[in-house]
């Protein structure tokens, strides 16, 4: 039996190894394995209704992951995604409900809030020379505080017009199209532009890039700002899905954002990983929750499972690295 298994594995081996040579290979193999396992475990998993929900849940997390990856690829870290999405969502909702501005203006305001927080993060890191972990930890705390002050801890209701983001276009909700579009945009930006090259280079060896006369700080600032924009879009998606802006939206999501990157094959030391990794990672993370619910497992159990999966992903990534800190 064991021999048979190893035989069939070695037959599978060659295309598998071929696939694993690509940056996104590992995550895709893991994704296929998870999908196969889930569809065996629960027949309902592959039903269009379930997949639609899964994709809707993935969308905001995918955007958080995409933003986070811009920062992690530079060898920095961003702890502000959860708070940024909440603040952007809240201020956008207030612009709409309390100040009565049209939806388009409200959405624009939300995005601007995200970009502004990204700007603050970027300036703290590049100008004030505060390590990104601490700088964005401050944004995490202060951002959540601002949400609570603004909302007085109460949810903002009456956001049904945000539903345009969840309406179906060409067979899929707009939101899903949005995250696909942002994924493509992110890929183009990181792999096909000079800013992307510098981003990877900073993650590879920031010192050398500085000595080369490249505007390292400008690129860092740009990436932090753009990441803030991605988080804001995620916040608007939450408004649309829930039609309510909850003050605790995105609580703890910074960890899911980082986990999406790790599951997507992006190393935390920077410089390595596919720009599409976070999308795959976010889908896997959402899938795990989904399948556990379908199987009727105690919902609290999902955190434990996620923890194990994360360790497995990280272990796969550090293969060949001699030691880490």
């Amino acid at each position: 039996m064991a021999r048979k298994l190893s035989l069939s594995l070695s037959k599978l081996g060659r295309p598998l190894r071929e696939l694993l040579r690509y940056e996104l290979g590992g995550p895709l193999v893991a994704l296929m394995a998870l999908i196969t396992a889930s569809s065996i475990l629960s027949p309902r998993f592959l039903e269009p209704y379930n997949q639609r929900i899964l994709l809707l849940q993935t969308a905001p997390l995918a955007l958080l992951g995409l933003g986070e990856s811009m920062v992690i690829l530079m060898g920095s870290i961003d702890l502000s995604p959860g708070s940024t999405m909440a603040l952007a969502g809240t201020i956008s909702a207030m612009t709409f409900t309390r100040f009565g501005h049209p939806l388009s203006v409200s959405i624009l305001v939300g995005v601007l809030v995200g970009l502004a927080i990204g700007l603050v993060n970027g300036l703290l890191v590049t100008k004030a020379k505060i390590p990104s972990f601490v700088a964005t930890l401050a944004s995490l705390v202060a951002g959540r505080g601002m949400v609570l002050v603004l909302t007085e801890g109460q949810p903002i209701v009456g956001l049904s017009q945000y539903r345009v983001i969840t309406e179906e276009v060409a067979g899929l909700p707009t939101m899903v199209w949005l995250f696909i579009a942002f994924g493509v945009l992110n890929y183009f930006l990181l792999k096909r532009t000079s800013v992307g090259l510098v981003t990877y280079a900073i993650g590879g060896n920031e010192e050398a890039v500085r000595y080369s006369g490249v505007r390292v700080d400008a690129v860092k600032l740009f990436n932090f700002i753009l990441a803030g924009g991605y988080y804001a879009v995620a916040g608007l998606m939450m408004n649309a899905r829930l039609e309510v802006a909850y003050p605790w939206t995105g609580w703890g999501y910074e960890l899911d954002a980082i986990a999406s990157c790790v599951l997507g094959g992006i190393t935390l030391s920077g410089g390595v990983g596919s720009p599409l990794g976070p999308v795959v990672g976010a889908y896997m993370l959402t899938l795990l929750t989904n399948i556990l619910i379908l199987l009727g497992v105690n919902p609290y159990f999902q955190w434990v499972v996620k923890g194990f999966i994360l360790v497995a992903a990280a272990a796969a990534l550090t293969r060949g690295v001699r030691y880490v800190k």
Partner: protein, 511 residues
Amino acid sequence: MSSELLATRGLVKEFPGVVALKGVDFDLRYSEIHALVGQNGAGKSTFVKVLAGVYSPTRGEIYFKGVRVSIRNVRDAKKLGITLVHQEATLAPNLTVAENIVLGTLGKNGGVLAPLKTSDILEIARKYLEIVGLSIDPRTKVGVLGIGEKQLVQVARALAEDASVVCLDEPTSPLTAVEAERLFEVMKELKARGKSMIFVTHRVEEVFAVADRVTVLRDGYKVFSSEVSKTDPSEVVKHMLGREIERFYPAKKGAEGGNAGVPRLKVVGLTTSQDGKGVILRDISLEVYPGEVLGVVGLLGSGKTELGKALIGMNKIVKGEVYLDGVRVRVRSPVEALKLGIFYVPEDRRREGLVGIMSIAENIILPKVWETSELGLIRVPRREVSVARKWIEFLKVVPPEPNFKVMYLSGGNQQKVVIAKALKARTKVLILDEPTFGVDVGAKVEIRKLIRSLADEGYSVLLLTSDVDEALALCDRIAVLVNGRVVGTYRTSEISRDFLVELLGGRGHGS
């Protein structure tokens, strides 16, 4: 076999894509200093790292005191008494000298949890510091020591671990002549105490200063082995190179005396700030003309590197002026330096010069990446590769593969890639900091030729070097730097080697 303390038979070490050792037979006798020489990339470092358990061998046998052993990790090696003194000091800078020395012995008596008594630690440390002839307080933090002292502390630690075989991986490369001399004394003292040493170096004269036997590795093969007394330096060098040395230094064009007109780069009274780390530069004045190589010659710690970094804005200038083509400029960052056409090729290539995980092409185009991009933003891989290919061909980078990752290149080829970066960015003033450091002899010749031909093409080259012979052979003029001050500037034709060495205050450290 029993007359040998350590022996290898058919030792092979393969890395992905490279075979570093191709079946090496090697013997180390009791109380012997066995020099292991070869060009960079010959496999010397790999060989001692295999013995010390840093890498495990792909194939082959290792015998210790006549018994076949398997060394799978550093602990295995240490149990046998084989210790490696690394090229870069591997001490914890935040701990004291004494703590570093006893670190490796922890767990030997009574386990890691055995209580540590400060007085015991100090006593052990003092004992071994005395053997290596270091008269420093063992309570000093290692971070404040000079590189030579760190090397000796590493040796002391090896002794504290009761090593019978000490492998020294190019210990002299960062040392000044005086420090190297001191290390040799210590090595001879250890030999007298019955220790055996494998001494890795690429400086042939050091073999004849200290070793009993010499083995030459080339391209992963052992090509020569002999008693030191039965050979001579030129024979050893011949085996290292494997071909006749071309003219080791290129001919100089008659640029002598032709320095009329406006200097390309002129520095007047440059002084750097006190708060920075490293040497403080005081009142430096110099000029570099188009088509000229100006050597700034100084020993380690003279401020060469600090000068190079100050000129691209990485070291703060508090006083003094810099002129480019007669126009006063302020360079506050490498970004501004690049715009003006000043490029610094760092001594520490891996840390400051290259992004190891990226390809040759990506490294070359990085400084002005917008030039190969559409609208300055959208990358055009085809264009990048063709630009890179041009420079790879011009500089003869091996392998000539634009998509090859830089981290897998040898030292000499890495240096070429950094120089390619500078040239691709259309540099006018090229500042080269020890460009032939840690580069094999063949590449050394090529790089020196290149430096000369670049000057002949009109580049202004500022060559920061501690190698007196290199400076004399390549430079049109030489400024001598001692303790952060220029003590004199001379035409190369007007100065003798002896005088230059005397100015530097020590023996020249040539190769």
